[in-house]
């Protein structure tokens, strides 16, 4: 019986976690979270990739932090995640009871100097950076016209639910534009989960999800014949080349599809801009932050907790199912990832700002 198996698995995981936490608490005496409730705030609704990512780490964090606080995930969606990020900027707790999980959708408006951004990444202290991928998918009837290039998709009118022009969805919008596809974004959905539901209802006929959400919610749809993967955004190798996504080695990358499609170039300004925003948005997409006011020992406790989580013997196994196979970075690696995620070359920025203005009438002043 699948349920009884699941019971055994869950119990084993819990026991493993408890014993591990027992070891790790003894060495950390400084910050103590006994009896506290940590709010892990994400600026999205309950059903997207960020929610899944946060809910994966919340219980692990609860075990790994000294004093085993209760960690609850709280959702503060709105304005494609800037609402929640603006809220976090105003937090002044120093005891580590509020942490914030940002995503590419939070980084992009910041990079583009969106006037509604009132948060400053330099103020926040990063304690974890997670790489993530993304997969675009189509309904089966349209997927029949897709054979590795987008040449036959150019006459189709696509609709998709997007969080906003300056959010992470920018990578998808630009990719579709470069492929010559006619995609009409419907702005204002709260999180990619709502976008997926629009796809399931047939209101949208194209969508993409970040890896955690794809693994959980789209793979069953693919198995049931209700969706077909189109392409991934790819992964980044050591030398900065775009290669196949390690979690989805069988799905072609956007780069491959672009090369095969007439009129799509993998060089030049458009490509460079796309690549720059892809690098800012995906290889270090999801980060955990403490507010500027958090004290040093709290930051140290969190860094150690995340290191312990990643060092768990079963981490690879449990994380690959939920998050996919991507690097999880702490300490200086996380700092580096944060820099990568919050900087893009000036040319790429100019190109994107112009394009947003002409195609969507979004002025960033």
């Amino acid at each position: 019986m699948s349920f009884t198996n699941a019971l055994g698995r869950g119990l084993a995981a819990l026991l493993a976690g408890v014993s591990l936490a027992g070891i790790s608490t003894s060495s950390q005496a400084e910050a103590d979270f006994s009896g506290k409730t940590v709010e892990f705030v994400i600026p999205f609704a309950e059903s997207g990739g960020s929610a899944r990512w946060a809910n994966f780490f919340a219980p692990l964090l609860s075990e790994a932090l000294p004093g085993k606080p209760t960690v609850v995930v709280r959702y503060r969606p709105g304005a494609g995640s800037t609402k929640g990020a603006n809220w976090f900027q105003r937090q002044t707790t120093d005891d580590g009871t509020v942490i914030f999980g940002s995503s590419g959708s939070t980084q992009f408006p910041y990079l583009l100097n969106d006037p509604r951004v009132k948060y400053e990444y330099n103020d926040w202290q990063v304690v974890l950076a997670s790489g993530v991928g993304g997969v675009a998918y189509l309904p089966p009837d349209i997927a029949r016209k897709f054979d590795g290039d987008a040449n036959d998709l150019k006459d189709i009118e696509f609709i998709w639910g997007s969080q906003g022009a300056t959010r992470l969805d920018l990578v998808a919008n630009l990719a579709w534009k470069m492929l010559g596809m006619n995609v009409q974004p419907v702005f204002g959905v709260e999180g990619r989960g709502a976008g997926r539901l629009m796809f399931e209802r047939g209101e949208a006929n194209i969508d993409y999800q970040t890896s955690p959400a794809y693994l959980k919610s789209v793979v069953p749809m693919v198995e049931a014949g209700r969706a077909v993967p189109m392409m991934t955004w790819g992964g980044l190798d050591e030398d900065g080349n775009i290669v196949r996504d390690p979690t989805f080695p069988d799905i072609p990358t956007f780069k491959e599809v672009c090369e095969a499609t007439e009129g799509c170039e993998t060089s030049g300004t458009a490509w460079e801009a796309w690549k720059a925003f892809f690098i800012a948005g995906f290889p270090a997409q999801k980060m955990v932050f403490l507010p500027q006011t958090a004290s040093e020992d709290v930051v140290a406790a969190y860094e150690k907790a995340f290191k312990d989580i990643i060092a768990r013997p079963d981490f690879k196994e449990i994380s690959s199912v939920t998050l996919g196979v991507y690097p999880q970075m702490t300490g200086t690696a996380a700092d580096k990832a944060k820099k990568l995620a919050t900087n893009v070359p000036a040319e790429a920025k100019t190109y994107v700002v112009d394009w947003l203005e002409t195609d969507y009438g979004v002025s960033l002043k």
């Binding site: 609850v72 609402k83 509604r116 989960g193």
Partner: protein
């Protein structure tokens, strides 16, 4: 047949898992915890969950599940206490219960109202679970049939209940709802993030007002102040009339009403994205419209309790469908539930219903069983708890001020919570005084966000479909479901407007002088004008179109009211002012002096922090206003402080700090 073949074995498996002594024990603990937390307005699922999470580690998943489900299932049950006894809507699930439940308590029939409410909840929960057992296997296509236009229509159906609840002057009800909608848009817009009626200099406003605070301000504060001015018990007679057995009989004689409203609850709960906030209003509206004698609604008709209460627990069951099938929570407590499931190592989603049907049924039926235990306990207790309504209210009031201030503070943990509670409380007091429909205001506020979001997105998609072809566009916006709900909405508006005069009229209109009602109308108009021009200055169309439209409609309503006021004599019901006579006008204590006591508590909190403020407030209030002996004063004050510290300590919550705390470091609970 195939359906039954898959469902039955899994159901058997699930039931054998639930009915084991250990699981039942944990379920019971969960229920007891949930009841204790749910009694307090503003403390819901998250507070309750943080109470059980520490115990959850090292517990086997089925027991953990039982504990969590037990807790979450009964939070919407126990908040009925506050709604009925005190007129405080504990959560979105029990807003409509206030309308008739509280007047019943004032008649001395609190026990009757409570037991009718709980038996309705119980039945709704069971019916919901039975329907779900089979429905969950085939629900997917039906749930997917509800696109954005359909959800928008349901939201409008909810808004159309304003017509039923508009009160004596329909126009006032419409403006009140418009005002609620406009207050709901304050803060950063959901679509583009533009600011509306707020600035970055006042960070509190950017996030908008929370429902808990608006609910407390609009309903609880005006009622508490009005009661306090009378200086007697909540029950007008001071005694208890019809008891809890009578409530059970009431439910039995309205059995089909209960069935109908439970089905409404399941159906609306099933649709993801609606959040369940419309359910009880739709159920209330349906109850009123299908009743022959409507004269008692709003004055204490037991059917007004049975309807919404049957629907709200059924909704929790319905909410499991989107939660389990799509991993998208159907309500706030379901969002918490999802988090808890993840903690136990389960992921809700399509695979769960397909491959772990036994687990799914364990959840569905644990929820139902928890409902039965919780509601059963509440029925037994209701006779005793109803005695609260016979205590001299002046002794109860300081505790209530304490609890609502604490509850309001949970929403943002900032002093701004207390300030906005006071501000909205003042609006609530005026709405009550001049006979503007407070339910209409609240419905507007609750539905503002989703009405804006759904209409924005549905409009964009419809635009794209119309560009494809006219046919595609029409098919999209005029689907059969949309047309059915549209018909219902129109019917409900027409019937509602025709009959609203008889509903919610509390006693005879009292009037005296034109000035006060006109000044209040001008204030409302002024705010609406300001909000309108503020919205007009936003550059993003997606962020301004909704407040502009609603603002224009409400302003037109204001203008029409103003014209009517100019033309009518002073005795026209449009000039109703309850300060000029009747129960309020003849109250022994003044309105502002009474409200000032609450203001005093807030001011003290701002200066010295909550706990010190409470101590001073209790001593002063009990000695001066209640005029009880020093001994009683000390006993009650100590009890209050001990209680709130225990509550805060157990839930790991801080108390509002004041100016003092920013200079001096004090130990908990004084922080």
């Amino acid at each position: 047949m195939e359906l039954v073949a898959t469902a039955l074995p899994a159901l058997g498996e699930a039931l054998s898992l639930i009915f084991q002594p250990a699981q039942l024990g944990f379920l019971l603990i969960g229920v007891l915890l949930g009841l204790s937390v749910g009694v307090f307005p503003g403390l819901g699922g998250i507070a309750g969950l943080s109470l059980v999470l520490p115990f959850m580690f090292g517990m086997d998943p089925v027991s953990g599940l039982a504990l969590m489900v037990g807790l979450i299932a009964v939070v919407p049950t126990s908040d009925t206490f506050a709604s009925v006894l005190l007129g405080i809507p504990g959560s979105t699930a029990s807003q409509a219960t206030v309308l008739d439940g509280f007047p019943l308590a004032r008649k001395g029939e609190a026990a009757r109202a409570l037991s009718a409410a709980f038996v309705s909840s119980l039945f709704g929960g069971l019916l919901g679970a039975s329907v779900l057992t089979f429905f969950i296997l085939i629900a997917r296509p039906l749930v997917l049939a509800f696109g954005l236009p359909e959800m928008l229509m349901i939201t409008l159906l909810g808004l159309s209940m304003v017509a039923v609840l508009a009160g004596r002057i329909a126009l006032k009800g419409i403006v009140a709802a418009g005002l609620g909608l406009m207050v709901g848009t304050v803060g950063e817009a959901g679509a583009g993030g533009s600011l509306r009626m707020s600035t970055y200099d006042v960070p509190y406003l950017i996030d908008g007002f929370s429902l808990v605070i608006v609910g407390l301000g609009i309903f609880a504060i005006p009622e508490i102040v009005a009661l306090l001015r009378q200086d007697r018990a909540i029950s007008r007679t001071g005694g208890l009339g019809k008891g809890w057995l009578h409530g059970l009989k009431d439910w039995l004689s309205n059995f089909w009403l209960s069935v109908r409203c439970s089905l409404i609850g399941v159906t609306v709960g099933v649709i993801p994205g609606l959040g369940g906030s419309v359910v009880d209003w739709i159920a209330y509206g349906a109850t009123v419209q299908t009743s022959k004698d409507k004269s008692q609604f709003g004055k204490g008709d037991i059917r007004g309790v049975i309807g919404p209460e049957s629907s709200n627990n059924a909704k929790e069951g319905g909410g499991l469908v989107p939660t389990l099938i799509f991993g998208i929570p159907g309500s706030g407590s379901m969002a918490v539930f999802l988090g808890g499931l993840a903690l136990l190592g389960y992921d809700a989603g399509p695979h769960m219903v397909r491959y772990e049907l036994d687990l799914t049924y364990t959840i569905v039926w644990s929820l139902a069983l928890a409902n039965v235990i919780g509601a059963g306990l509440c029925i037994v207790l209701s006779g005793q708890i109803a005695k609260l309504t016979t205590i001299r209210f002046t002794l109860v009031a300081p505790f209530l001020f304490m609890v609502i201030a604490f509850a309001a503070f949970q929403s943002r943990q900032s002093l701004g919570d207390l300030v906005s509670l006071m501000a909205i409380g003042v609006i609530g007091i005026f709405l009550r005084r001049f006979d503007w429909s407070r339910p209409a205001f609240l419905i507007g506020f609750v539905l503002s966000h989703q009405a804006e979001n759904f209409s924005n997105m549905a409009n964009q998609i419809a635009g794209a479909k119309f560009r494809q072809s006219f046919e595609a566009g029409i098919q999209y916006i005029a689907s059969p479901i949309v047309l059915i709900i549209l018909t219902l909405t129109v019917l409900s508006v027409v019937i509602g407007i025709r009959q609203s005069k008889h509903i919610l009229g509390n006693g005879h209109p009292v009037h005296g002088g034109k000035k006060a009602p006109i000044v209040f109308l001008l204030c409302v108009t002024g705010y609406l004008l300001a909000a309108f021009f503020n919205a007009a200055s936003i550059s993003l169309v997606s962020d301004k179109i909704f407040p502009l439209t609603i603002g224009a409609v409400s302003l037109a309503g204001c203008l029409a009211l103003l014209v009517r006021m100019m033309l009518s004599p002073e005795t026209d019901p449009v000039f109703t002012d309850y300060e000029r006579g009747g129960e309020d006008g003849q109250a022994p204590h003044g309105l502002w002096a009474t409200l000032a006591w609450f203001g005093f508590l807030l001011l003290l909190s701002a200066l010295f922090g909550f706990i010190i403020a409470l101590t001073v407030f209790f001593l002063a209030f009990l000695r001066i206003r209640a005029a009880v002996s020093w001994l009683t004063t000390f006993i009650l004050t100590t009890a209050a402080i001990a209680f709130i510290c225990l509550l805060g300590g157990l839930l790991g919550r801080d108390f509002p700090p004041g100016l003092l705390q920013s200079y001096v470091n004090l130990p908990w609970p004084l922080t």
